[in-house]
Symmetry: C2
Subunit: 196 residues, 2 copies
């Protein structure tokens, strides 16, 4: 059985959202599954000295245009939330509290769709709880404050950084790292050919 | 007659080199020509707060791997010069001193190939002069020091920044900006469809 593709992302990342709409189908075309790994991109930014693209002179206006253009090309809805950039702490914690990968993916897709498909504010715990409820997930408000929940997200973020992950989305395919939704073409080629 | 594609690049940019090996043929497939515009990326970095990717923690090691992997995928030679990043002042000045676009392109291709196809140091004026000589270009050593040559490069850099150019390579197609050699797929689609 081939290893899953590791998909690292931050819930506040527009390009992470775009990749999230593509990666499962891409992997399936090559008989692979995807291990989803949300992490706190801000922790990596502390090491790289980066900040959100939209907050950077010149790069910000371009990024807004590119988010929208890239989403149109993929045929997926895109609306930047009014409050952006945002800090997706609650959703990230809940993902790891769920422990079950398929439930985690279901929540992640709901959160990403709400945030960037519909432009909703997913930062409040109540917003995440509202998205989790139709998926049969209860007790979110309590879970996000548990020390063990917090520790799980910290550990996941540390592990991502230890593997060299510094951006969102970031993929690792059989040990090969790919950064950016614009590397999905290379990821697909890598899977098809075993590398070049 | 359709407008040329504007291709902005810095001679010290590996991704600019990769794009330079593709853009003319890409444009020709859609009946377009390319206007080549070297500029000093460092002037844009002063505004955006960026610096060379290879000098950044975490992003540097990834960039080295990605340069090489992307070049292999395109089937073009790639060798990073020993002294990198470098400041391509002489080549950039000579380009604008030549004034003739087709001579400028010939020089640009020779410089890029020497720098990243062969990993040679193209920073000394003598190195640029050596590359220019087989193209029938003489007097480089004198030309780079002329005040009007210096002014032409400054003006070109100012114009690029005024158009929102902050990275290398950067393309403008019928008013639409595209940043990165990894946007060449979008550039080609834009040319084929007139935009989406």
């Amino acid at each position: 059985m081939a290893e899953p593709i590791d998909f690292y992302f931050d819930f506040s990342s527009p390009y992470g959202y775009l990749a999230s709409t593509q990666i499962d189908a891409l992997a399936a075309r090559h008989g692979r599954t995807v291990a989803w790994h949300p992490f706190l991109l801000g922790a990596a930014f502390k090491l790289t000295g980066q900040r959100a693209l939209t907050e950077q002179p010149m790069r910000g206006p371009y990024a807004l245009r590119d988010f929208d253009r890239s989403a149109r090309l993929l045929g997926v809805p895109f609306h930047l939330p009014h409050a952006f950039p945002f800090f997706a702490l609650a959703a990230s914690r809940v993902f790891y509290w769920l422990e079950d990968p398929s439930r985690g993916q279901a929540l992640a897709k709901a959160v990403y769709h709400a945030a960037f498909g519909e432009g909703r504010d997913v930062t409040p715990v109540a917003a995440v709880a509202e998205l989790a409820r139709p998926l049969g997930m209860e007790g979110i408000e309590h879970a996000v404050e548990l020390p063990e929940t917090k520790a799980k997200l910290r550990d996941a973020t540390d592990r991502a950084i230890a593997r060299g992950v510094f951006g969102s989305p970031f993929f690792i395919v059989d040990g090969e790292p790919f950064w950016g939704h614009d590397r999905l073409g290379q990821v697909e080629r890598w899977l098809a050919t075993g590398g070049w």
